[in-house]
């Protein structure tokens, strides 16, 4: 996921860990979040109801995975 985000923000070598704020720090724009949510579905093999996800749920990689566990459902 971190590699995907580094590619997404187009800053090779950017220092991002699982607790780096992404949205609140302006590193990624809100429109890229749909991409991230789809990637998160692929990585976790879960279906994530987008309507149950809040901005703060996507602010760090750690929060994203926690959100996938909390609101996501195992894919058939």
């Amino acid at each position: 996921m971190i590699e995907h985000i580094v590619r997404l923000i187009r800053k090779p070598g950017a220092n991002i860990d699982e607790n780096t704020p992404l949205v609140s720090s302006g590193l990624i724009d809100s429109m890229a979040l749909v991409d991230l949510l789809l990637k998160l579905e692929d990585l976790t093999l879960r279906r994530i109801p987008a309507g149950k996800v809040q901005p703060k749920d996507m602010n760090t990689v750690a929060l994203m995975f926690a959100t996938a566990q909390r609101v996501g459902k195992a894919r058939k």
């Binding site: 979040l33 949510l37 987008a50 901005p55």
Partner: protein
């Protein structure tokens, strides 16, 4: 359709055992309520609101996710004679500061008695919900009477009373609250139901459209409520993430009607892998209606080509010209036409230089194709006016003015905006278009128009040509006007994303080819082309290029540009 005094009477007359709303969450989770159950829940919400002393005329803002509870709260408010308004619910993509500012602006203007939110509403977004002195903020489940059968006093809601406020399309916070009476809404729905030959028992609507916009609110909620017709809805965000679900839901529930913006006609076939198309069946659909300005023939064709093999019948794709200020539709294409909306090809040069439509044969070099938005609904009139206010004959392009028996009363609390928008009963839409043989053709927003050397150029025409170049990512091109002070006119600047980053090593050839395409297509020269890496162009919620956001970003990177022009 029966004639009702108000929207609540229309709901009361619906057969209780008929399914009304199905909220589709995913394959495993759906909830359906019948009309009787919907009425029961709405009465329960009305009771809750009355416990907080909501009365006739009070504004009630509803900030809830796109689920049945939001709809029953809306109707519950109307049952008390109060005036509800849906506002956008915060989602994971919103920028918190913008959302808060937008909400503050809209709620302050409405001077609401009550703001109803759901239990999951994010605390950090609440700080800027403006509450006037008497206003209360409540959670939707805060009623003592939820779940109980509730009797309400019989309240006389007069046809000329305000039914609700719907917000015009636009950036959150800058939206205008369009105040609509029960009579205006019922007039509109009567005309629309007649034009679409709606049969409440047989028809059903599919929708992913947000309830805070006219397509979602009127066509996909209030119309089904008044026509006693089923609607199967999902959240807009779930659809954007998985556009294929539209095919899935129409197939499963055999939906017959849907309203869609133009981009959806491309988005669904492009985002659904072709090897899965055969799983679906669109044969139940009898009208999928494109409500955008303008309606693009190429988008409709793409959808039809993709899905005719899975039951989509010729003549199913339709068009309509709609706006919040007229409750909804002004026009509707002929539902019986075997091949969908009319099209006309016109001389491109005369269109751009003289704003005149001179029809030519299909395939004529340099011809421009326009798709009709249909005929005017009964009791709707349209005029085409020049910049100086002179009324224009059919075939001449100008601003569309509308008058009807469903026109809005005013922009709530904004007499200044109302006075500008409605003059002698005619509403200035800000859209450019023309009439031809009783059909209305909508070309685009007046403010988007680029005037280059006296020629009228529409950015979307250039963008379509640029995106057709194989090196450019489809749908990721934006054209804009840059004022050239030496020449005293606008120059055209294009910014476009390449498909793959390595293509940026050879921009000279790509730029030359794009220039040639634009000159060949519409006969104007592009001054500057900015080729950008993938994901550079700012996208809207639904993934299409956002003109105003992209312009701002380009300005930031290239401050030497004095970019003027249009928003989305």
């Amino acid at each position: 359709m029966n004639r009702f005094r108000n929207l609540i009477d229309a709901l009361a007359a619906a057969p209780g055992d008929r399914p009304f709303v199905t909220a589709w969450i995913d394959e495993d989770e759906q909830e359906t309520v019948t009309f009787a159950e919907f009425r029961r829940r709405a009465r329960s919400q009305a009771k809750m609101l009355s416990e907080y002393e909501v009365n006739t005329g009070d504004r009630v803002i509803i900030l809830m996710p796109q689920q049945i509870a939001a709809m029953t709260t809306f109707v519950g408010a109307m049952m008390l004679g109060a005036v509800p308004a849906f506002l956008a619910y915060p989602n994971f993509k919103v920028e918190a500061s913008k959302y808060r500012a937008g909400l503050a602006g809209v709620t302050a203007n409405l001077k609401a008695k009550m703001v109803v939110i759901d239990d999951a509403f994010p605390e950090d977004m609440l700080g800027h919900v403006h509450l006037c002195e008497e206003a209360k903020l409540i959670r939707a489940g805060d009623s003592k009477s939820v779940g109980a059968e509730v009797e309400l006093h019989d309240l006389e809601v007069r046809p000329e009373s305000l039914a609700f406020i719907q917000h015009s399309a636009g950036t959150t916070g800058l939206q205008k609250g369009v105040a609509l009476t029960h009579a205006a809404v019922l007039n509109q729905l009567e005309h629309l139901a007649h034009a679409l030959k709606i049969d409440g028992e047989k028809d059903s609507v599919y929708s992913w459209l947000p309830l805070y916009h006219d397509m979602g609110l009127i066509a996909c909620f209030i119309l089904p409520m008044v026509c006693h017709m089923r609607v199967v809805m999902q959240s807009p965000l779930d659809w954007v993430m998985h556009p294929e679900t539209m095919l899935q839901i129409i197939s499963e529930y055999k939906c017959t009607l849907a309203w869609l913006p133009n981009f959806a006609f491309q988005f669904v076939p492009r985002r659904t892998p072709p090897n899965r198309w055969a799983q679906y069946d669109l044969s139940s659909a009898r009208a999928l209606i494109n409500c955008s300005e303008p309606v693009r023939s190429s988008s409709m064709q793409e959808f039809e080509n993709a899905f005719s093999a899975i039951g989509l019948k010729s003549g199913t794709l339709h068009s309509s010209y709609a706006m919040a200020e007229n409750v909804f539709a002004v026009t509707q294409s002929d539902i019986n036409a075997p091949s969908g909306p009319n099209r006309v090809w016109a001389d491109g040069q005369r269109f751009r230089s003289m704003h005149v439509i001179a029809p030519v044969a299909q395939g004529t070099p340099g011809a421009v194709c326009f798709t009709s938005s249909g005929r005017l609904l009964p009791n709707n009139e349209a005029r085409i006016a020049s910049d100086s206010g002179i009324l224009l004959a059919p075939g001449f392009v100008g601003e569309i003015l509308v008058k009807s028996d469903s026109l809005f009363t005013d922009y709530y609390n904004r007499p200044d905006l109302t006075a500008k928008a409605i003059v002698e009963g005619w509403y200035s839409t800000g859209d450019l278009g023309f009439t031809l043989e009783d059909q209305l053709y909508v070309i685009g927003r007046k403010k988007d128009l680029l005037i280059v050397g006296g020629e009228n150029i529409y950015p979307q025409d250039i963008e379509e040509i640029v995106a057709s170049h194989p090196a450019i990512h489809d749908g990721r091109a934006v054209a804009m006007g840059v004022y050239n002070s030496d020449l005293g006119t606008e120059d055209i600047v294009v910014v476009a994303e390449v498909e793959r980053e390595e293509l940026l090593t050879n921009t000279v050839d790509i730029e030359r080819e794009i220039r040639n395409l634009v000159v060949g297509g519409i006969g104007v020269a592009v001054r500057t082309i900015f080729l950008k890496p993938p994901k550079w162009v700012v996208k809207s919620t639904a993934g299409k290029a956002a003109r105003s956001g992209t312009r701002e970003k380009l300005l930031k990177e290239h401050p030497e540009l004095d970019v003027r022009g249009s928003g989305d």
